[in-house]
Amino acid sequence: MDPIKYFTFSMIISILGIRGILLNRRNIPIMSMPIESMLLAVNSNFLVFSVSLDDMMGQLFALLVLTVAAAESAIGSAIFVNTFRVRGTIAVESINCIQG
């Protein structure tokens, strides 16, 4: 029963992250928050499983995923800042130059 509670909690956060990516209507830089939330949920999942399985690989994996998530959010911010610099707006509707 014990790992399932924590696993459910992480799953809810992950599903909220997926929902955030797919249903974003506000502005573009907010998109990086649900991505981070998904990675965070999976990270805490790894830690939960590592404790319940008594195995170190989960914690190792969580540490590495944390590093990669940090790098990804930095790159995401850089791309979004550059997008704003070119366009002058951060509304989601402005990303429609490429049609078809």
Binding site: P3, L53, E72, I79
Partner: protein, 494 residues
């Protein structure tokens, strides 16, 4: 102990070379004494040199004899990874040599963006022999990160930044799903190494005990990988990304991740989870990709978008070879990938070479046969090879793919494949489909204004010569390719 370093010496070399190139580019292009030289071509040629050196290192590395040291670690090197690593390196070298002309034309002066091409190359080299979920994720993720940046590398262009942000969202989402899959598998089995997974999942379908955690995990890994190679139900913005990025970047994006992630996927599915493979999902994605590739590029008016759609369709054909789990399936996958890589390099080398201002629309290609007959012939050879016309390599690869699919019992998939490839090829003016239509426009149309193109530069013409001769000679003499891929397929099953 020193053998470990010797075994990963190609990766160590490329990491060092990338950082030295980056530092060299930044230090010298901001030095006031030398009057701030733009070092793009310099760093580009050095990058090409380092990739070719890497190719020599990877080809001559003495690691097959010490592969037994790595059995319990993250990588497994055998014949299939050896040859499979050479192909992305060749494609990368071809892509870098495509870049030089476009840098001159657009007066692009950021030397750092060249560094972003060897960096995912090192990830590809690490992804192909990866035998552990950790290694797989740690190789897929930085590769994708480099691709996001390089897709947005034209900083002042709206198209490029839009392509970059779309690629970020399209790429981060499947990375999350892939990681979720690794997580579920780890949680349900406690194993991250594919050998351990192979032992655990051996009797997966036979016994009645199906763990839903393992099923979710394998499904999520498959879905995440399919997203990344832009399989059809999950290809949201891929044509937009391919159209908006700068053209050599599009070439890189169409070839390199497809090769490495297909190799990785085949390793996961065959070594790691042979019992629980989701064959139906891969079949469905292949069929849908083939249908999309044949139909969706009909109404396109630009040049890069049907190339993107046709690359998605062709990867669908290739995935049929992967969907059947047999040795012929893997062999046809590898043959398809070799031929696909050379065709795509060919196609993407011609498109930026034909520039007066910029070739964006198909109508600009009108009457190419009269002004540049050799370019027209090369382009039509490439297009006919994509369509699968017999005396060229595309027919060879498609034939073998359908042969392998029939051999494993996919009786629905092979006729669908044949029909869609015929639709893509069916010409003669009743319903002009795009491959033949491009050729028709090139040879038979008379445009309203004649467009004169500059002559192609030396690097691209060499690349075109090599790839088109490979395409035309692959049908009469395919046996080196077949032997090579058979050896690769056999060793990936051991």
């Amino acid at each position: 102990m020193f053998n470990l370093f010797l075994a990963v010496s190609p990766e160590i070399f490329i990491i060092n070379a990338t950082f030295i190139l980056l530092i060299h580019g930044v230090v010298f292009s901001t030095s006031k004494k030398d009057d701030y030289p733009p070092l793009v071509s310099n760093v580009g040629w050095l990058g090409l040199l380092s990739v070719i050196t890497l190719l020599l290192l990877a080809a001559g590395a003495p690691l097959l004899t010490i592969a037994h040291l790595f059995r319990n670690n993250l990588f497994r090197r055998d014949n299939s990874t050896y040859f499979c690593q050479i192909l992305p390196l060749l494609s990368t070298a071809g892509t870098i040599s495509m870049c030089f002309d476009s840098f001159e034309q657009e007066r692009f002066d950021a030397s750092e963006s060249i560094v972003l091409i060897p960096l995912p190359t090192r990830s590809m080299l690490l992804m192909i022999p990866a035998h552990d979920s950790i290694a797989m994720y740690l190789a897929i993720e930085p590769q994708s990160l480099c691709f996001y940046v390089i897709a947005a590398s034209k900083r002042k262009s709206e198209f490029s930044t839009e392509a970059g942000s779309k690629y970020l969202i399209l790429g981060a989402f499947p990375s999350g799903i892939l990681l979720f899959g690794c997580d579920m598998i780890y949680g349900s089995t406690g194993a991250t190494h594919f050998d351990q997974l192979a032992k655990i999942l051996t009797g997966y379908e036979i016994t009645g005990a199906r763990s839903s955690g393992i099923f979710m995990g394998i499904l999520s890994i498959a879905v995440g990988s399919l997203f990344k190679i832009t399989a059809v139900p999950l290809y949201m913005w891929a044509p937009d990304i391919y159209e908006g990025s700068p053209t050599p970047v599009t070439a890189f994006l169409s070839i390199a991740p497809k090769i490495s992630i297909s190799a990785n996927m085949s390793r996961v599915s065959i070594v790691g989870s042979y019992g629980g493979t989701l064959q139906q999902i891969f079949f469905f994605c292949s069929i849908a990709s083939m249908i999309l590739g044949a139909l969706a590029a009909m109404a396109q008016t630009k040049v890069k978008r049907p190339l993107a759609h046709s690359s998605i369709g062709h990867v669908g054909y290739i995935r049929t070879g992967f969907s059947c789990g047999t040795i012929e399936g893997i062999q046809s996958l590898l043959i398809g990938i070799f031929i696909y890589a050379s065709m795509t390099i060919d196609a993407f080398a011609i498109v930026p070479a034909l520039r007066q201002t910029r070739v964006k629309y198909i109508a600009d290609l009108g009457a190419l046969a009269k002004t540049n007959p050799i370019s027209a012939m090369t382009f039509s050879i490439t297009m006919f090879s994509y369509a699968g016309i017999p005396p060229l390599a595309g027919f060879c690869s498609k034939f073998y793919l359908f042969f392998a699919a029939l051999g494993c019992g996919a009786y629905f998939l092979a006729p669908v494949g044949v029909v869609t490839s015929v639709i893509g090829r069916w010409a003669a003016g009743r319903l002009p489909f795009y491959y033949i239509r491009l050729a028709k426009r090139m040879f038979f149309d008379r445009p309203r204004t004649w467009i004169l193109y500059e002559p192609m530069d030396r690097d691209k013409s060499l690349l075109l010569a090599m790839t088109s001769s490979f395409i035309t000679s692959s049908f009469p003499y395919p046996s080196p390719l077949f032997d090579l891929t058979h050896q690769m397929a056999l060793s990936s099953y051991l």
